[in-house]
Amino acid sequence: MRTRLRNRGLDGVTLLVIPGVLFVVALFVYPFLYGLLLSFEPKEGGWLANYVTFFSDPFLYDTIGKTLLIAIPATLLNVVLSIPVAMRVRLMRHQKLLTTILVIPITLGTVLVAEGLLTYLGPRGWVNRVLLEFGLAEHPIRLVHNYWGVMLSLIISGFPFTFLLTLSYVTGIDPALENAGAMLGARARERFFRIILPLLVPGLAITLALSFVQAFSVFPSAVLLGAPAGPTRVISIAAYTAAFEQYDYSMASAIAMIMAAVQVLIVVALLGARTLVFRGPASSGKG
């Protein structure tokens, strides 16, 4: 019996995985399933009442649109800017200083970026100071407590994240392939679009998916830098309000499930599009 199990890879050492697995099951899988079930047990009404309420109340269902309106432009901008910068930085010899500087906003987190931008972009901050001194504006421009504040915070903390991910995928592409293209007379633009980009597509799809999911779950900066009652009332604010201000955990779980569903839909669509755009043995990046 023991040898049979051992042959299948089950022995004392395999058991070491159990505490970790049990922990993740108890505190990640179980709460998710519990939340899913709880969302079908509303305070009043039939089992779908929470979802019916969500999709019939514009104050609630609008949050999806508002979140997408912030998350999609921010993600696209970050990814589109990351590619040329990563292409250039991979040629650098001393990348570490640049990557260290860029890892700072990721490490500091969104709360600090929000507080920093409140000071920096505020009516008395340096940005408005520059605009006024150089005559680019007559009055301080309102950059915080609206849509733009949240957007800028998603760029400050999102661009480094997207860039570092893109850089790790770009540097994974064998430079010999590009050199071969160059030797055969392909110009920089052709080499990028016909050699690098196709090889980058799988990594890019993952980068897009991760960046989007992060931007879609924006919370602290939407409250602190945005207008949480108006244009930046994102879906996570709706879920938080339901749970901790109305104490309706059932509704909060329903909103969390809708949030997860939108994220899964977009991620599946992105990863699905990847297989449509490109398939073949070279997708491993080695060619």
Binding site: L108, E115, I206, Y240
Partner: protein, 276 residues
């Protein structure tokens, strides 16, 4: 690697550097404006404040009960680091060394908490922790913080374990070492660089983990980020400079550990959480 020397290529590369420089300039100016404001007396329509003072730090120290918050932060971060190491390293060892049925499912189980954003699973998690009367206590905060860090340690440690020659372990087994002894006397010393890197990254991430702590903390179990959030949220109650003073305390705490961590890891590893 080829470099283009045509005019168009040079313009393009200049444009990219200008873009990067503009981004970094804004980033550093944002951080600098927090630091300057925290030391300034009055700052209205000038480039710099009218005078300099450190009194916002003493104010923040008393007003925000910083000693208590720093103590809680230390406890939460310390417990999270130790427990995620104890749970994660053995799991990573088993994942690296054995091929068992359902292994890919277990891998998916460890990947999911890193892919799903904390605010999405944090709300059901907080609900469950409230039901168990753990939320609001320091243990609830620690448990919530462990959800992303245990899988993180597992995924970081797997390649480190794979680097170790299995014959070293076989030799220890031949000389009669049990699994515990093997761990304490052979594996942990060999894995020290990996464990150090993984745990330092956990430390940096936990100090900055806002969402999970925010959703599960009570008034006595707030960490520094959450206290900072509440301070900014209730801006106007206290002078803005003292909030910035607190932000500086938070930044210094985080960046010291980031600098230490960067001696052992590459900056890209901090993001490359789902890297294959």
């Amino acid at each position: 690697m080829r470099r283009e020397t045509t005019l168009g290529a040079r313009l393009w590369s200049t444009l990219i550097w200008v873009l990067v420089a503009f981004f970094i300039l804004n980033l550093l100016a944002m951080i600098a404006s927090v630091v300057v404001n925290s030391f300034g007396t009055r700052w209205f329509t000038t480039w710099l404040p009218a005078g300099w003072t450190t009194r916002w730090y003493t104010l923040a120290w008393d007003e925000f009960q910083l000693p208590q918050i720093l103590l809680v932060t230390l406890e939460v971060v310390g417990a999270t680091v130790i427990l995620s190491g104890l749970l994660g390293v053995p799991a990573a060892y088993a994942m690296a060394r054995r091929d068992f049925p359902g292994k890919s499912l277990v891998l998916l189980l460890f990947l999911l908490p890193l892919m799903v954003p904390p605010i999405t699973y944090g709300i059901p998690l907080a609900t469950v922790l409230y039901q168990a009367h753990l939320a609001g206590t320091i243990w609830g905060v620690i448990l919530a913080n462990l959800v992303p860090t245990v899988p993180f340690v597992v995924l970081i440690m797997i390649p480190f374990v794979e680097q170790i020659d299995p014959r070293v372990e076989a030799a220890a087994r031949v000389f009669g070492a049990g699994t515990l002894r093997l761990f304490v006397q052979v594996l942990v010393p060999l894995l020290t660089p990996g464990i150090l890197a993984a745990l330092l990254l956990v430390l940096v991430r936990t100090v900055a983990m806002f969402e999970l702590t925010f959703l599960t903390a009570g008034p006595t179990s707030q960490t520094l980020v959450v206290a900072l959030y509440y301070a900014v949220f209730a801006a106007g109650v206290r002078p803005g400079q003292s909030i910035d003073a607190m932000a500086v305390v938070y930044m210094v705490t985080t960046l010291i550990w980031l600098l230490i961590a960067l001696r052992f890891v590459n900056p890209t590893q901090i993001v490359g959480r789902a890297k294959r």
